[in-house]
Structure formats: C-alpha cells, structure tokens
C-alpha cells in the first residue's frame, strides 16, 4: 500500500505478546514527518511495548509496521536502526563501564566523530564535554539522560524514538531537555516520544496519541487537545490522572 508522503512511520493493527500476556491489542498509529508525536497513557498502557516493537526488540505477533516505505515488522533490530531510527530506552541504555566519549563513539559511523555534530551535542549538553573521559556509570541521572540523548543525535537520524526523556529530572533540567529536543526540528528530525508528564507533552507535541490497555484510544493534534477541555478531561480521567 502506498504511504501518504507525510507519513514516516505507520503501525497497523499491531499485536505484541510478552510471554502469555497480550500487551498490544491492535495498535494503529501514524507518525508524520518533521513533527513531534507524543505517545501518552498511564503506566502499563503499552507505550514502552509499542516503542520496543517498532525497534524489533519485541516481535509483533500480528500487524504491519512500515517505516518510510519499508516493512520492518520482523526485521532484526540492527537493520531497523540502520534505516535511520535512533532509540533511547526508558533506562537510557548507557554503558556504565565505558567513558562518555566511548558511549558517543559507538553511535557514530566508521569514520568516527564529525566535529560539527559533536559541537552540536556539546552546545546542547555542555556537561558532556566536561565529563568526556569519565566512566558513564559515574554520571548523575540528568547527565546520563544527556548522554543518552546526545548519543541519539550525534549522527543525523530520520526518526528519534525516546521513552520518557524527562523522567526523574528536576524542573530546570526538564526545560533544558525540552529545548534540546525541540532544536532538532531545525534539521527535520521526526520525534516519537513517550511522556508521562502532560505539561511537557503540551509544550513539545505537534501530534498526540493516547494509549489505554494496549490500544490507541485517541489521535489528533496537540493544539486540538489543548483547546478542548472536555476532551482533556475525558482523556485525563482515562489515562493521565497522575499528571493532571
């Protein structure tokens, strides 16, 4: 099936099981190019499973996942990543025994660091320059998150998938991360973010999808959701009561 030009990622009726448990029960989601799509929902709704299924870390039992015209359901994770998807998991996936430099180097191509990209990472997260030779395991929680995001943007990607980028961060740090991620818009990077904090989602999102019990129960633009108090109440009551 031909994709509309503005669709970068499409999930159609995706069902994923973990052991005996059916976690995703028919997820339909569209991520548009150059936009920030927020995936919201309460704990256990299936947000992380959706991201992991996109990355091939958990295999979809049924359904179709199409990235930029390529069917990626069932594809090995490295091949999916090589199509241009950067993934930052909820636990950040930092290699604690490696230095900050080595963590970033792993995400670069065979030629190593491109100075321009490295400068961009340092502009966003100056702390990484100061901790360049430190073991990543010794960084603070906020610095680890900086490293995780820095690693995802050290090379240009077409889609950046981030699971809870602001989890556990101080308000000042949250602001910093929002600005850093929004700066990616200038290079037409598409973002798919899972976020528990509705205020953050309101600030960052262009589009929004709300999950509940393994299904998408609402899709639309963030501006429409912001303008519709009744809808917000219904969704907040359904899924976002913890952050209302």
């Amino acid at each position: 099936m031909d994709e509309p030009d503005d669709v970068l990622l499409r999930l159609e009726d995706v069902r994923t099981d973990i052991g005996r448990y059916q976690i995703l029960r028919g997820v339909n989601l569209t991520v548009r190019r150059g936009r920030v799509t927020m995936l919201l929902g309460r704990n256990g709704a299936g947000k992380t499973t959706t991201l992991r299924t996109v990355m091939g870390l958990w295999k979809a039992r049924e359904g179709e996942i199409v990235f930029d015209g390529h069917s990626i359901a069932g594809m090995p994770t490295p091949d999916i990543a090589q199509l241009g998807i950067a993934y930052v998991p909820e636990n950040m996936g930092i290699f604690g025994k490696l230095t900050v430099r080595e963590n970033l180097l792993l995400a670069t191509g065979p030629k190593g660091f491109a100075q321009e990209r490295l400068d961009r990472v340092f502009d966003c997260f100056p702390a990484l320059k100061l901790k360049w030779s430190s073991a990543a395991g010794l960084l603070s929680g906020g610095q680890k998150q900086m490293l995780a995001i820095g690693r995802a943007i050290i090379e240009p990607h077409r889609l950046l998938v981030v699971d809870e980028p602001t989890k556990g961060l101080s308000p000042a740090m949250v602001e910093h991360f929002i600005n850093a991620l929004l700066a990616l818009r200038t290079e037409q990077t598409t973002l798919l973010l899972v976020e528990q904090n509705f205020r953050v989602a309101q600030t960052m999102g262009d589009d929004v999808a709300v999950m509940d019990q393994g299904r998408i129960v609402h899709v639309g633009t963030m501006s429409a959701l912001n303008a519709d108090t009744a809808l917000q109440q219904r969704l907040l009551g359904l899924s976002l009561e913890a952050t209302a």
């Binding site: 994770t77 996936g93 290699f95 604690g96 490696l98 065979p110």
Partner: protein, 330 residues
Amino acid sequence: MSTPWRARLAAWAPYAVTPLLILIALPLMGGGPWLTLTIAGLTMGMMLFLMASGLTLIFGLMDVLNFAHAAFITTGAYVAVTVLGSLAGWTSEFSLSLNLAALLLALLCAAVVSGALGLIFEQIIVRRVYGAPLLQILITMGALIVIEQLVIVLWGPDAFSLLRPSALRGSIMVGSSPIETYRLVALCVGLVIAAAMQIVLTRTRIGLLVRAGVENREMVESLGYHIRRLFVGVFVAGTALAGMGGMMWAQYQVLVNSQIGDSMTVLVFIILIIGGLGSVSGCFIGAILVGLTSNYVEFLSPKLALGSNILLMVLILMWRPRGLFPLSEH
C-alpha cells in the same frame, strides 16, 4: 564527604588484593623461595588467563556457558604435540632462537586449529541453543565428551611426553632463587598476549563493541550493530585463546593426555567466579590470584593445596558476592 572516598576505595580495592597477597607471602617463606614461587604463580596465572579469558567473554556477550571450553584447551595441547614433534630438529638444538621459533609456531597452530574448531562448533552446536541455558549445559557437555573421544581416535589413548626445547630446560639464578627458563618465557608470552588483548579491547572499535555488548547487548543492537556476528568472532577468538593456553600448559606440564583440558575446568570456573562472570579484567586478576595461591599454599602447607583455590573463591565471594569486577547487567 566520606561516601565518594569510600566508593573510590571500594572500586580500587580489588586491584590491591594481588599485591597484598604477594607481600603477605614474603615473610612467610623468605626471599629465595618467595621469588621462585611468585614467578611460578604469575606464569601459571598467565596460562590460566589464556584458558579462561575466552570463556568469560563468551559468557559475558551472549550468556552462553560453554562447558566444552576444556575441549579447546585439549585440542591446543595435542596440536602442540604434533607441531613440536615434527619440529624435533628445532627443539633438540641448543639454540634459543630456533627453540622460540618452534614454540611460537606451535602456539600459532594451536590458535588456528582451536579457533577453526570453535567456528564449526559455534555454527553447528551453540547457535541452536542461544537463550536456553539448560540445553547449553547439556549440549556443550555432550560435545566435550565427543571432542575428547575424537582426540583419542586421532592421537591414541596413551599420554605423550612433551619435552621442553633444549635451551628452555634449565633454570637461571636470580640471587639465590632458581627461576625456570620456560616459566620466564611463558610469562613473557602470556603478558604479550594479554597486552594485545587489552589493546584490542580498549583501542579498537571491535573491542569497544565487545565491551559494550558484554554490558548491554540489546542497546548495542539498537545502535545498529549485529551482535551475533560479533559473537561469532568472539567465540572463535575465545577458543583460539583456549588453544594457546592449552599449548602453553602442555609444555609446562611436559605431559599431555586427553584429560588435560578437563583437569583445568574447575580452576577456570573458579577464576570466572572470582573475577566476576563476563569481566576480562576480573578474569586477569582472578587467574593471577589462583596461580599465586596454588604455588604459595603448595609450598607452605601441601595438605591444603587441593582446596586452597576453593577457599580463595569462598573468601572473595564473602567479600564481594558477585566477584571482584561484577558487570552491571548480570
């Protein structure tokens, strides 16, 4: 402010264990025997490191516990028998250069044959049991028996005596301490291989990937690297190292039989546990500790020698239950 200081001390404490052991041993046995036994312990440790390092990497990267690892040690030992046997002209000459050339050729052949066997073993057997620990134990133990029997079919059931090359048979005197020449050579060869391994692991992208994969292989895959392809390389390198360890050990023992690898299995697993499963640095320190402890205790209290390494392991696990250098993901 005491927490960072304590954390730093806790991080560096495992590195202090070996020097501490060496220092404690000095007043207990006097300078002469101490130097001889320390060199012997370090040499034994180097050979144990070669045998164990591959196994710890294989486990760290893919959680594969390969009980057939001993078979690659045995293979290396028997390759040494064949190669050094066919180079008898070189080894019987009292020429250090010819003797060393024969040893290095045997070492190379042991690595190539064991590595090639490791490649076949990974492709035919190990690949089928990823993620199934019980099957791994059963199938690798079965493979160990098969390979050992194949060794008997190829080389026969009798033990071989493997005389050391002429120039490496004697000892040199350092002060009043006799140091076996072969031990010095084995120590140097072991150090060179360990250093080369360290350079590959810390200075190359492949090494970086291996270290990252040992910590979090899922994230390595998410960054676009095929960890299974990397694992094949590590498996081959690990079995080649075991072969080299087997060759060096055979020449050290001067006697080779089909149980030579098996006889090292317990020590190899003690090293892995002491060092922390999957940790190469831990494996290095663990191997040196086991080598030194074996030699010191055998001299001080021969009756305790048999259980000394198990006691060492128990003491270290009481102090650090996950070994000296545990990996965060395991």
